[in-house]
Symmetry: C2
């Protein structure tokens, strides 16, 4: 089976290596950036294609030459790339995390007989799979909470943070109001709101804040209480609030000595180099997903814990591991015929098929990405 | 006696009012800014002169028409304004706090038979007077410490700070390395270094950090340990360090989307409006000056405490009160013939004449600016 990976970035590259490693697939990687493609200079298994993926016509033409597509392009190109791939009639695993609604392409994918899975990283991604899985098993889901963060292993003043994905998307998370579901109602609060301290074994205390990360879950899961909170080392949030309060993240231009400038453009210039995760710098991914609900007369709480870190052997960052291997395993799952739904699927749809969840968990475990499950039982009051 | 005040700013205006209030002097105020001069529209006693004081020739011509000058111009114009005034042969009280060395004009002032006193605000200013005073009395001065801060009475997140003088000079204090004398040697440390918490009665805990404020004292006072530290509400320093670390105070231009911009210019645009002390907003001035030394067989510690606040009757901010009334009392001291030294004096020179110190303290007390003196005695080891 011939696979093409769109995007040779932080996550695209380890996906390509993973798919090519055991000779299962013939793997090609396409990117506009020659430097990004140079990573594969020493690989005999992976073919590289220099190509401008911002042009959907090029995407469509490229896709037609392959059996399966993985889209790991930047978010702003994600929707059009997915659309072009679906139009080419190819199954696709998509981790572009575009801002548009993924279900807008569901009809088109069905018409083209395409199986597309979007948002299938770590969170969004495997968090959705787990919620979908438990929701499918329970009679009634009452609560779902996702705590997730990508952090540097070594904490350095003042930020104790490195951006494990695009830093401008991190700022977006720090400024866009956060939506969550409480008692069946959608609540909107400012970003960075409701900070709370939580202890994680082997890591210590982290601070969680509301972030706008539920995405498709608000439409697909019938649960009256759902929330995602992002994790940082304690103190980071206060520092970010400070910058936000001064206006350093604003998009409205200000006049500085007769020059119009967007504060966020200026801040990005100074701040983002400080947040750059260096090659070989160890990062960790921490996630806890809690789901509570009723099954028969039992009240159950499922807790899934993920602690993953940078792999010094493969030199793959943890965020790339946890995101990329979820995507590469999802591709295998579809390729093997385990998941057949036509249309655009959110990852929680996969959760309805226990054999798919089992397959993904096993594949992730083989790659060192281990989810620990804990089930607690309560008596219904 | 005809007085002219150069500069109708935050401090110049209350000086003019103070000098004119009892009919002691005929007072005029000169400024380029018509808006600044409009403050005096309702005053019958004070004459206003719209004049460009950035031109030293204009300054000299203006000064010649008066008996005495107070220079309260911005720091960058301070040296040339003082020089022009001395060239005009007029006695002058100067609170411009210019970066140049005030003693560079000493010879010129002596040649012109002029009595000039520079840096005669609160700190630098009355702090120097007190150190000079105790140093003159003691046989040997061993230690002098100045803690000083101008703060808003009402503390608001995140800064708990309002700039009581030019905010760009505040940033200068946050970035310029701090020099102090320890065991007879000049030590240079980064700005904001050596933070310590101190409790002040009626105020609570404040945080002090090294600032480069000794100025003339390093040359004029023979004391092996001298330091000035600036006071802020706790937490302010950490926030400032954060901005400094990111580079928001840098002067070297950075390229933002093809536009060269100095970070400090950009930061000033966003930050300074947040630090603006509003009309009627209450500020406080806190100062503690400690001087230790030997007199005969006694070891003595002198402590002077100042706590001053905004005057809701006159609507004069505390920083303007403590600075301006020191200057206006110094003018009276010279006008009465109490202080006669020709040349440019640093305020610590005044401290050598106990009758001058007594005069200033009494005048300040009349205006509600009260220094509390405490003398403790130790046995020499």
């Amino acid at each position: 089976m011939k696979i093409i990976v769109f995007g040779a970035g932080l996550v695209g590259a380890p996906i390509a290596y993973d798919l090519a490693s055991a000779g299962e697939f013939e793997v090609s990687v396409a990117d506009k950036d020659v430097k990004a493609l140079n990573k594969f200079a020493h690989s005999k298994e992976i073919q590289v294609i220099q190509s401008d993926l911002s042009n959907p016509e090029i995407v469509k033409k490229l896709a037609k030459g392959f059996d399966f597509v993985i889209s790991a392009v930047p978010g702003h190109m994600g929707f059009q790339t997915l659309k072009a791939t679906i139009e080419a009639g190819k199954n696709v695993i998509d981790i572009a995390f575009f801002p548009e609604n993924l279900f807008d392409l569901d009809e088109l994918a069905k018409e083209n007989g395409v199986t597309a899975i979007s948002d299938i990283g770590v969170a969004p991604g495997f968090s959705n799979v787990l919620i979908g899985h438990v929701d499918h098993f329970l009679d009634k889901t009452l609560k779902a909470v996702i705590y997730v963060g990508g952090l540097p292993k070594i904490r350095k003043w003042p930020w104790e943070y490195k951006a494990v994905f695009s830093p401008i998307d991190v700022i977006e998370e720090y400024t866009r109001p956060a939506r969550y579901i409480e008692n069946g109602k959608m609540i909107t609060k400012p970003a960075l709101s409701d900070p709370e301290f939580l202890d994680f074994p082997g890591i210590g205390t982290l601070e969680a804040f509301n972030s706008d990360g539920l995405r498709s879950l608000t439409h697909t899961i019938d649960c009256p209480n759902m929330i995602e909170k992002t994790l940082r080392y304690p103190g980071h949030i206060d520092k970010i609030k400070l910058l936000r309060e001064v206006g350093f993240f604003n998009s409205n231009p200000v006049d500085v000595n007769g020059i119009e400038i967007k504060p966020i453009d200026f801040t990005a210039k100074l701040l983002f180099p400080k947040w750059k995760l260096e090659e070989g710098e160890e990062d960790i991914t921490v996630m806890q997903v809690l789901i509570e609900g009723e099954k028969g007369k039992k009240k159950l709480r499922y807790t899934y814990d993920l602690y993953d870190s940078y792999d010094p052997i493969t030199k793959v960052h943890s965020m790339a591991r946890t995101t990329g291997y979820t995507a590469s395993m999802a591709l295998r799952m579809v390729a093997k015929g385990l998941y057949k739904r036509k249309g655009v699927s959110a990852p929680e749809f996969i959760g309805k098929q226990p054999e798919c969840v089992k397959f993904l968990l096993a594949g992730l475990k083989d790659r060192g990405v281990v989810y620990k499950e804990r089930i607690e039982q309560f008596l219904t009051d």
